[in-house]
């Protein structure tokens, strides 16, 4: 069984940011995924973060002598991310009804799991959605996520807590780059 990874948005973007300290490791990881040596999943939230992060970076970039528009930059990265081979996107899932006395709220399954995780961790709101997607992926694939790969300092700080909660090890690309994976 191939090693199954959850990729945080920052790993995918680090692959295209040569100045990022773990750019080479992120790039090697993505190459192994595209070659089918590793399997990977991420949340659909990643698509939004790719667009919003590249779009915010463009704020600083726009004054430079470039003819490419903001939407073209965001769209080009989005297009490539959607096309990464062997990377599956965890959907929001069907709706779950939550009833409190007379009130009823319908939540996508992803948010319902994020809500549960959020009540037990100190991580940021959108980090919770990534953790929820990793948790749901394990159920969809019937195989536990082996590693949640991230460069997010806050998630790395909570790695033990996350491991206890969703049974997934949190690691950086550098930490797993030396490992030998079954193919």
């Amino acid at each position: 069984m191939r090693t199954l990874l959850y990729l945080d948005t920052n790993i995918i973007l680090a692959r295209y940011a040569p100045d990022e300290p773990q750019h080479d490791e992120a790039k090697n990881l993505l190459v192994k995924i595209e070659e089918g040596k590793l399997a990977a999943v991420t949340s659909i939230l990643t698509l939004i973060e790719v667009v919003s992060t590249t779009s915010r970076a463009y704020e600083r970039f726009k004054d430079k002598a470039e003819s490419i528009k903001r939407e073209e930059v965001a769209g080009a990265f989005l297009r490539r991310v959607i096309n990464i081979r062997n990377l599956d996107f965890i959907p929001m899932g069907g709706e779950i009804s939550i009833n409190v006395e007379e009130q009823r709220v319908k939540l996508p399954a992803l948010f319902a799991v994020a809500l549960e995780i959020g009540s037990k961790t100190g991580v940021k709101t959108l980090d919770n959605i990534h953790l929820a997607a990793a948790s749901i992926a394990s159920r969809i694939y019937g195989q536990k996520i082996d590693y949640f790969i991230t460069l997010d300092e806050d998630l790395l700080k909570h790695k033990e807590e996350i491991k206890d909660l969703i049974e997934v090890k949190v690691a950086t690309p550098a930490e797993i780059s030396e490992m030998t994976f079954d193919s």
Binding site: N10, Y16, A17, D19, E20, A57, R60, L126, D152, E153
Partner: protein, 90 residues
Amino acid sequence: MEEVITSRFSKELVKKVDQAVSRGHFRSRSDALRVMVEEYLIEHPELFLGEGTRELLTETPTMSDDELEGLGSRLFKGLSVARLVAEGRR
């Protein structure tokens, strides 16, 4: 302003609608169908969305990894993508 429309339904479907009316869930067949259509449209916003995303994808250039890395080197120069993504989560 209301408009009367004509539509065909299978006998089985009409029977189910009539049952829901007779059980008091709706005032009439017309009321039942109106509510069902309204609720379906509320629960399926995707019917009216997505055009912008499709445009974003169709109107942007396809770039190779090398081209994207070149673009990324200029776009993210002096920035940490890990920090940029984290800032967006605050």
